[in-house]
Symmetry: C2
Amino acid sequence: MHVLIVHAHPEPASFNGALTGQAVATLTEAGHTVEVSDLYAMRFKAVADADDYATREDPAYLRIDREQTWAHRHDAVAPDVLAEQAKLTRADLLILQYPMWWFSMPAILKGWADRVLTRGFAYLPGHKYDTGLLAGKLAMVSVTTGTSADTYAPDGIDGALLDVLWPVHNGLLRYSGFDVLQPFATHMPGKADDEGRDEMLRRYADRLRHLESVPRLFFHPRSDYGPDERLLPDVIPASGFQHRPR
Amino acid sequence: MHVLIVHAHPEPASFNGALTGQAVATLTEAGHTVEVSDLYAMRFKAVADADDYATREDPAYLRIDREQTWAHRHDAVAPDVLAEQAKLTRADLLILQYPMWWFSMPAILKGWADRVLTRGFAYLPGHKYDTGLLAGKLAMVSVTTGTSADTYAPDGIDGALLDVLWPVHNGLLRYSGFDVLQPFATHMPGKADDEGRDEMLRRYADRLRHLESVPRLFFHPRSDYGPDERLLPDVIPASGFQHRPR
């Protein structure tokens, strides 16, 4: 496989950096090829705005989705966005590596999604979820947290990890067509000693060596939804909705 | 009340702009005072990085949470962050006004959260959720979407709106101590005609005129959690977890 790691941490010597280093080494050793977009090192432009469009379909009123589509069709996509899209096109597996900040991604990574996963490249009307334009590719979140695994349990104060990641998994990734692997979470590396951190890195290497056996998250296929994009009554089990991955 | 609207849309003439204009007019008319942080107009710096710290506790290794706390204690908070914190300190109600981009906030607003809701200002060890440092204030999300209310129904393809907003509601807002009002969602304003949009603005004005009767989202109080920050067995109802707002 060819793997793209999109890495978002401001400190190169951080544990996120160690995880990405581990991923490059382990995946390469296993025969994969890897490239890394280190967003902070690249000083990646985080904010989707008018500056992204040298020419516009409508210079008087900025609608990002319309201009994204127009830029795509007119070979007018901003060079830094185009470079990221080319990396995605090459990739069989996308790994998002980031620390949980406010129960979401650092803004620079959110901006990468806002600017790179464009209408025209990642989705179009009639091409979302199962039929998203990046269908056939795999994706996995590798996230570090500042609190314990207990706080991210289903009855934990921060909410179940899969609930917290729902907008990323179902939204960003599945919407674009990816098959999504179970996330890899490293809890509280900042509180671990050297031995603890080595163990965390070994766990990650182990995950990466056995990607083929990592469960994929469940999402209802398009055929489970009616024309109103709500689940058909007969696919809702008696126990209630099974809408999010379990 | 004094109200702070943090507004994130790149097009001043957008429907998000109309909603914020409506809010300023309606709230002022009702006797409240209002200020607006228009993040795109301010060209607000979205990325939390080393440039935020003129002096550092640890110049050799950047840990954002540690430097935030240190800056707070040493009157060394970046001026643009300090200005936003002063607005929050004055505010009784915070409104986040944004379009749903990738089932989350535009990066510029995520960056506002990353940089402004600092360790030392919004939370500290022992001061989170019920006891978050912004306790006593109200918050409300006002979001526009590109898809229908059906897609955000509990059985909708995008997931229940309260699930999609869980990281914002429980994470960002409740974690900092806010009481959180039911969100206000405007679906597909881009597809509505003038009359439809006028009706959407009237609905929003109506919401803002009756804030005192808007339900607050339910979050378990700290006392429902054990020392491991998981719900105590006797507060989990027989029907299963009631962890997220319903």
